[in-house]
Symmetry: C2
């Protein structure tokens, strides 16, 4: 046996355990009996410990060290080089973290999430503040242990978007904001509004379930290799090379929730189903980054699922599925309703345009916390000020303000940025696909999503971690990441919907 | 830390892994996507290997040896003594089996089941015979490796019914047969029949699901600590101290299948839910034997669920749930239909009375195979001869004859007996409970199953493996195992239904 074979076999066994832990987690969120939570937590802790020991085993370090020095690494895009480079990157990160810090982070995350739930329910930020302070302190320690190129926040960002630098992300997101804020203002001043009431008519649950499954299958999600179940908080998880499970939740009085939720999670699922199954558990068969993962969900949810061409195909099906709600509704009114832009206080309810402003606020605030430019005590007022300034809205309380997201309580600093990166990547990929595939709209209108899906598999999914996110964008689109494709998409769609003149659009874009 | 603490901690960790493996299995049979089977098998093999290594770890042998010699073992009914004795018994068995034999048995079982499926579909016993021959040879080797008191078959029986001897089981089952055959003949000659057509009217699936859940909850199955799902082959599995999952299958045109299936599996489930949760994974919190487990399912399915008193309570509910099928059906006719006795060829479709005759046939044939008194080549004709002699029916082919059960192909020799032992234990326990609780019928008529359930928890479930099956029967009922309570139950119920005179009954019983 050669060292690379040893390494791959070892890693595949780790993946078998990780997929087993993922099943424990999926089951916990779907079908676990109410009283069984405590024992399930013990099972997951045991598996997590076994996996962690395998991932930090010195044998692994020895193999990786030996292989990294090997000549077979000459081509950095080869499977072997990709496997060794990416496993070594992960290993080197993992062994830098002292065991005591890892355990303290885990404990604080559990306590932090509990405190956050209670604080949010009682609108009581002060009761959550001490744990958040501790978490911020631990995340700084984590960043210092990991090391970084330019700033502490880089180290945290790197956990979700490997190789990304805060300075680069800031540059793109700032350019995005500079054009987005005036676009949202122009929309507000247009005097037009979509009729959202159409979406809160009665959409029977059984019909929603069937419709969601049908459309997920239509865009290519394989139910031979996956499932769709119901959970309070939708997610996508992969439990093996041919086992991708997505979830959604249904509300009879809110059509877009489940429907775009299914498209979003199916987008994640298509990425997982498009990875090389024979490389399962190896970097050659793994997603690049959270941002790239999110790009696939946002692409199907927004670029496809909220496009006019998609509804040209889909609206007759929707009308047949929901006659009571839609028989008297024109396609263009439905289309406007699902694309209505309106500044709001809650991120997860935000529309396609304002969503990124919610992210920008969090991205800036968490950087300031980590870089010691903002204290936890001052966080609520900083939050309020940013919402007032950016979205023109003042949160009535902390529960609907700074306490609305679970992320910080769980120690997920550096995570929010990947949501907007996903939107940016998605638009840039989509523009390229549209050009190379000769116009996607005509294909969508006849319900043909195969060319786009196959293009994504070939260009993105099947690449695994051969490229970093930044390299992949350059490789696939011929350009570095930019705010321009996303803004072109938003200005085009909303300019038309809200009757903004191209001049207005240009002025607005100039800001 | 004392040695007993080390032992219990070690064992609890093994149980965490075993419960995880059980989840992998449950998911495989309920929700696994079609294409994911191969990877799931790899996961289960990995976990099974880890568990096997832990169970045969020499450290475990050292601890058990040390503890078995300890003075705290003086009281054989103490928790400590129970834990050490039962773990040592399992350990000593496991380490007696050569690794090569274990692997050969596993491989032959997988191949055997595949061959059995194909052979049954094509009604081709000859194609299955070579693998069955190999399996019988391996089971003899297994018996020789394990050792036995009186005959080889003892060693196999012991895997499912620890401590049981073939000679004892034969004595009880033969006495049962001697009274059962004339009872079945008297029923056949009575000229009466239940109207089974009532049970194949339309029973809508959704109503069956709700009704099954309702009755399972009524007899005490906790959905806080369990679930009911749908599978092709119903089963009960426990995934943790508060996580017992049962399954059933629904057929719109066959009411008893799902309904008595749910009662049967809920009976198994009540046993699991009645074990001491704080002793989970230890012999003090485990079921005694397969026979005792089966006694709990048969008790709820037959002694309760097919009793007149139960339907006094349940029939109005059934009529409300299935108005289309039952509005014109009298309770007594429905009761007769679900209790109709009729000799048949297929074990799993057999009624309460003839079921045990199917088991007797298998019990005798598999003994003869293991003891080298019957060759595999002669098995089909021996099967046919026994069915003709015992049930008065001749199988039209091997698919509905000797090939109908999966057990032998999977190496489950010694297993069938536990089904009839379950029926015997159930009747003997039930008689005692009825006496001690002052008449259960009146309680059932008003839908009160708590006294019986609590009695079972106290006398049986909470005892764990403190007693062997034989000891438990003696302890709970004051008598050794006997065919008399089961025959008293069958003669009482069917004597009344089929109008057999007590004299007839006595003559029949005398045989």
């Amino acid at each position: 046996m050669s060292t690379i074979d040893d390494l791959c076999r070892y890693r595949r066994e780790t993946a078998l355990l990780a997929a087993t832990e993922a099943l424990l987690g999926w089951d916990e969120r779907t079908y676990l009996p109410p009283a069984a939570g405590e024992y399930r937590a013990e099972q997951m802790t045991l598996l997590a410990g076994m996996i962690h020991r395998r991932e930090t085993d010195p044998r692994l370090g020895d193999w990786l060290g030996e292989l990294a020095a090997d000549s077979s690494m000459a081509d950095p895009r080869s499977d072997t080089a990709t496997i060794v480079r990416e496993l070594k990157r992960e290993y080197d990160k993992k062994v830098k973290l002292p065991q005591a810090l890892v355990e303290e982070l885990t404990r604080t995350s559990v306590l932090g999430q509990q405190a956050w739930v209670a604080a949010r329910a009682r609108n009581d930020f002060a009761s959550f503040a001490p744990l958040l302070e501790k978490m911020v302190r631990l995340k700084r320690e984590e960043a210092d242990a990991l090391g970084y190129a330019e700033c502490r926040y880089d180290a945290l960002l790197d956990s979700y978007e490997p190789g990304a630098l805060t300075s680069q992300v800031t540059r793109v997101l700032s350019a995005l904001r500079d054009q987005l804020v005036p676009l949202v203002a122009a929309i507000r001043d247009s005097g037009r509004q979509g009729d959202r009431e159409l979406l809160s008519r009665r959409y029977p649950l059984a019909a929603q379930q069937e419709f969601g499954r049908r459309i997920a299958a239509a865009i290519g999600f394989s139910f031979e290799r996956g499932r769709l179940d119901v959970t309070a908080h939708p997610f996508c998880t992969e439990l093996g090379p041919h086992d991708v499970r997505i979830t959604t939740r249904y509300d009879e009085r809110h059509f877009p929730g489940a429907f775009f939720g299914v498209l979003h999670e199916a987008g994640h699922g298509l990425y997982e189903q498009g990875l090389r199954a024979d490389q399962y558990g190896l970097p050659t068969g793994m997603h690049v980054s959270l941002g790239i993962h999110e790009s696939q969900s946002r692409l199907w949810e927004n670029l496809v699922g909220r496009s006019r061409a998609f509804w040209r195909y889909c609206y007759p099906l929707a009308r047949a599925a929901f006659p009571e709600a839609l028989s008297d509704v024109a396609e263009k009114d439905f289309f406007f309703a699902i694309n209505d832009v309106r500044p709001s206080l809650i991120r997860v309810e935000a529309d396609e345009a304002t969503y990124n402003l919610h992210i920008l606020i969090r991205f800036e605030l968490e950087q300031a916390l980590v870089e010691e430019e903002l204290s936890v005590a001052d966080l609520p007022s900083a939050w309020t000020e940013k919402y007032r300034h950016t979205l023109g809205l003042t949160p009535p309380n902390d529960a609907d303000g700074v306490l609305q997201d679970i992320h910080w309580s769980a120690g997920l600093f550096g995570y929010f940025a990947t949501y907007s990166l996903g939107n940016l990547y998605a638009s840039q990929f989509f523009e390229t696909a549209d050009r190379e595939l000769g116009g996607l709209a005509a294909q969508f209108e006849r319900g043909d999503f195969n060319p786009l899906r196959n293009w994504l598999i070939e260009r993105i999914h099947s690449q695994g971690r051969r490229f970093s996110a930044a390299e992949l964008v350059q490789q696939v689109t011929g350009q570095p990441l930019s705010h321009v494709p996303l803004m072109r998409h938003l200005q085009g769609k909303f300019g038309e919907l809200y009757g903004l003149s191209p001049a207005n659009g240009a002025r607005a874009a100039g800001g």
